[in-house]
Amino acid sequence: MKKTRVKAERGTLKKVLLYIRPYWFHVIVSVLLSALTVALTLYIPVLVGRVIDHVVGAGKVDYESVIKLLVRIGVVAVGTALLQWIVTSVNNRVTYHVVRDVRDEAFCRLQILPLSYLDKHPAGEIVSRVITDVDQFADGLLLGFSQLFTGGATILGTVGFMIAIRPTIAAVVIVLTPLSFVAARFIATHTYRYFQAQSETRAEQTALVEEMLTNQKVVKAFSQEENAAARFDEINGRLQKTSLKAVFFSSLTNPTTRFVNNVVYALVALTGAIICIATAGTAAPFTVGCLSAFLSYANQYTKPFNEISGVVSELQNALACASRIFDLIGQPPQKPDDVDAVVLQDVRGSVELRDVAFSYLPDKPLIEDLNLSVQPGQRIAIVGPTGCGKTTLINLLMRFYDADAGEIRVDGEDIRCLTRRSLRAGYGMVLQDTWLRSGTIRENLSLGKPDATQDEIVAACRAAHAHGFICRLPQGYDTVIGEDGGSLSQGQKQLLCIARIMLCLPPMLILDEATSSIDTRTEAHIQQAFHAMMTGRTTFIVAHRLSTVREADMILVMRDGRVVETGTHKELLRKNGFYAKLYNSQFAT
């Protein structure tokens, strides 16, 4: 288990390096300058120590040396500060650019992933990969690495300086300081389960909050407010207990490591003092200045340890985030258009399905042996109970999914030999799930025809009976609507989707329950517009409401993925089969 994880982590790490490669120059600059910064930072306590050694007592101060040293401290400090700033800026640059590159690539991938992937994965999950995971990966991995490097360099540098000054005292620090590291680890591992409990209870509470507040109106309609509050309080009480433990125990890390640090500090002071006394007057005295430098180091030395101990878990988390985002980026894209793919032009609108078979799950066949021949300009209605495969048929026509067997031809061309773009441009599609983007009404309408004039837009909206309500909006066509249509009603959203198609008028139409949320009276108005639009255009209409399909040239009655009946309304009624049963049930009382 552990081995495979390490292997996977190594693979992820390799990919991370690929993204960093374009910035190798920055990385090298950053590494070199950080090392220099660390060295200079550590040099200052030494200089201060030397100053102190020149300030021995009354009348024994060596001013000349003191001033020289002070100037040097000043120069070193300014240099260190400058380097610090450069290093941080360079690190930021690398981090933000890698984030940008990863996001760009992820987004590009989203545009070419097959719909089978996107339909299977909740949008929220994918969004969280592109946004949250990338952030965490960048913060944790890149800043983590820079912390790790600076921390490591500081530890090594400190050890080096200390050994150079006095190995015996250095030994005290080197041996004892990792204790604080151990203490921090100890606390972290033992508080883990409290955090686990906390996040579980928190998740439970969030689930309740989401469920209740999303449906608050129902809660109120049934006077369940007290009930909901009681359930909430019960979880809340449990959360208080687990949170208290998690918060308290985790907050012990700081005081504990500080205590260990204080003990080390005391020992350095003691051994330092004893050695000072012992070596006073010898050739290589351990001076008060040296002791001062040592005390500074003892203070600073634990800091990188604490940071590194945090970094390790952060790195692991970051790697996990990175592997999630790389998993998305690495998903196989849809089969690209052939190099010699034909661009569908001047569509006449004949559509032919030959022995088409399709299923979402291999062991659950949905559409089998579907045959259909549509002449240009014909109107095909598809009816049948929920789950019979109506929407799937649209997926196949638009090539959102490819058929498993058989072929679909438009104007005699197999659609797999056409560019997806030209095939899709041949259809105007109004789906049951209306979709509008955040932006102005105008932006939404001109999605299919970005260069449409105001007159064209208004004409399309009049035809779709949307002009009236658009004019009543605060800024008319320039009204900004929120995500998914914001405050518009379902019916209004549908009208906009219809107007959007009316604007670009493609040669073939797919209308999926296109008017389900519009009242029948408005629908009757739109029907006239539809009528005009459908004339001369091959149209596929999917509808529950049988009143909308009566005028079709052919009705496909689907059931369990098969076409069970075909014919006109009259023929099918005469046949008195499944369609007649469906149709008559709406008049039963």
């Binding site: 400090a77 800026s89 989203l110 545009q111 928190r202 959360l239 002071a269 979709w435």
Partner: protein, 573 residues
């Protein structure tokens, strides 16, 4: 913010003791440089090993007592912050429970969820850190200065100089960068919005061949985010180098005047080391303080948002005296009008309608004609802006909301069920209903087959009822309303996902209910309404006609148009 701190009242003791113990610990830390100075001056210079040993033990002791103090402080801080937020969450949740429909519309549910979860967590973290560190850091900074004064007044003047300079740098950088961080967040939100949109609209975007323009737009937003991040990063990266320079300048000054004072015999070598150590302490604390303030700023913003929700008045008050209606009617509308917002068109106006007990009233009309609005006035989900709505002759505003709604069974447009068993959900209608009564309601709602497929009353409903089809959900919501045996039953377009045969069976079952409820049926299908006792036809918020199906066909043009749009063609067929 002060309003929120009311909920800290139960933890008054902890909120005082937490910071207090922190300060005690900090005081001990301030003693350390003096002890070290003594090690140097008496121990080393005076060659007194015993003194050095004793002073080192004092250092360890100081550390140990400090540990005890700070653990105590952490406990109090954790207890107060967790307790405070627990209380706040409960108060906020209950507050939201009192929101009227209108308030819920205004505030927005997704906002409320964020307030209840993410914002609360940030407030907890912020309060915890505040209790632990907010007093401590300034205390150490000023404490170090005061201690420096006890060592040597002249040298201590460097502290007086450098502390304000450091504060200016730290707070200056923060003041500039915090608003910029907010802007960055806004840019990130746009990147997020783009991503979400490209997923939610994938079919439409691909149908229009928008893949490339989507990528271009995304790159634009993404680049804007990156350059903003780099800009903010460069500014906030100034803080550490600047403070570092200032501090070292102060150290240089300190050492210089230290040297002068030592030469004059006023100061000892150990005292200079002590002064230097105090200066180092200041640097450490300033860095901590800056991080703390960033965290607190975030928490205060979250706290303000939570408070804003608490400030929203619940919007449901019970009135005492209002003119009475005619008690012979179960429901009466008298000159009722409603506007959802003050500037917009009225959603409903001039509605007069009297409904007798047991009557079935159909409501029909175009999209946005006010059908749902009309029936929502009966359980007082919304309040009429004009006129009055009566139930049994009493204005709906004089009822306790609870008392009114218990008499009404509502089946909302959107069929919502909650995670749990089918029984749990049905019991919402009436907590005391027996299984027999539940099954009776299920039968009337034509939902027996749902139970048989899902395993009876104990059948599990997954979150968002995702294991049920739209039609199954609708029938269970109807059953839930029937469990209540309501005097008034409101079906708001709640049979839309049912096939015609089931819809017809449902209507028959409703007519034969033993308790003869008054029924409002909202529908877009004339076929669902034509057997109602009366039908109300709405057109853009006004009543266009009230009457039976046959009468309306003759007299009401709007109704005829609706009917024709659904039925004319098969007359021809």
């Amino acid at each position: 913010m002060r309003k929120l701190f009311v909920y800290l009242r139960d933890y008054r003791r902890e909120s005082v003791l937490g910071p207090l113990f922190k300060l005690l610990e900090a005081t001990l830390e301030l003693i350390v440089p003096l002890v070290v100075a003594s090690v140097i001056d008496r121990g080393i210079v005076g060659a007194d090993r015993g003194h050095a040993v004793r002073m080192s033990l004092v250092l360890v002791l100081l550390g140990f007592v400090g540990l005890l103090f700070s653990v105590t402080a952490q406990y109090f801080a954790a207890k107060a912050s967790v307790g405070f937020v627990t209380k706040l969450r409960s108060v906020l949740f209950r507050h939201i429970q009192r929101f009227s429909y209108r308030t819920l519309d205004d505030v927005g549910v997704s906002t409320l969820i964020t307030r209840m979860t993410a914002d609360m967590n940030q407030v907890q973290t912020g309060l915890n850190l505040t209790l632990r560190l907010l007093l401590r850091s300034p205390f150490v900074v000023f404490g170090a200065m005061v201690m420096a004064f006890t060592v040597d007044r002249r040298a201590a003047l460097w502290f007086v100089g450098v502390i304000p300079a450091l504060s200016v740098v730290v707070f200056g950088v923060m003041l500039v960068s915090i608003p910029l961080y907010k802007k960055t967040q806004g840019k990130l939100d746009r990147v997020l919005g783009r991503t979400r949109e490209t997923l939610s609209g994938v079919r439409v975007l691909r149908a229009f061949g928008k893949e490339e323009s989507e990528i271009d737009a995304f790159r634009g937003e993404n680049d804007a985010l990156t350059s903003m991040q780099k800009y903010v990063g460069r500014i906030s990266a100034l803080m550490n180098p600047l403070t570092y320079i200032l501090l070292n300048l102060a150290v240089i000054g300190l050492l210089h005047s230290g040297a002068v004072r030592v030469q004059a015999g006023v100061l000892t070598q150990g005292a200079v080391v002590a002064l230097y150590n105090y200066m180092s302490q200041i640097l450490v604390e300033l860095v901590k303080l800056a991080n703390l303030i960033i965290n607190i700023t975030k928490s205060v913003a979250c706290g303000k948002r939570i408070r804003a929700v608490l400030d929203v008045s619940a919007g449901e008050t019970v009135c005492a005296d209002l003119p009475q209606g005619d008690p012979a009617y179960r429901v009466e509308f008298r000159g009722v009008g409603l506007r959802y917002n003050e500037t917009g068109d009225p959603a409903l106006q001039g509605v007069d309608l009297c409904v007798r007990p047991g009557e079935t009233v159909g409501v029909i009309g175009g999209t946005g004609s006010g059908k749902t609005t009309l029936v929502n006035l009966v359980p007082r989900f919304y309040e009429a802006s004009e006129g009055q709505v009566f139930v049994d002759g009493r204005d709906v505003r004089v009822f306790q909301p609870d008392e009114l709604r218990r008499r009404i069974g509502v089946v909302p447009q959107k069929a919502v069920l909650f995670a749990g068993s089918i029984r749990d959900n049905l019991l919402w209608g009436n907590e005391r209903a027996s299984d027999g009564e539940l099954l009776e309601a299920v039968a009337a709602a034509q939902a027996q087959d749902v139970l048989s497929v899902k395993g009876g009353l104990d059948g599990v409903i997954e979150p968002s009822a995702r294991n049920l089809s739209g039609g199954q959900r609708q029938r269970l919501t109807i059953a839930r309303a029937l469990v209540r045996r309501p005097e008034i039953l409101i079906l708001d377009d709640s049979a839309s996902a049912l096939d015609f045969a089931t819809d017809a069976a449902l209507r028959t079952a409703l007519r034969s209910l033993s308790y003869h409820p008054t029924v409002f049926i909202v529908s877009q299908r004339t076929s669902s309404l034509q057997h109602a006792d009366r039908i109300v036809v709405l057109d853009e918020g006004r009543v266009a006609g009230i009457g039976t199906h046959d009468a309306l066909l003759k007299e009401c043009a709007v109704y005829r148009e609706i009917y024709d749009s659904q039925f004319r063609k098969e007359a021809e067929a």
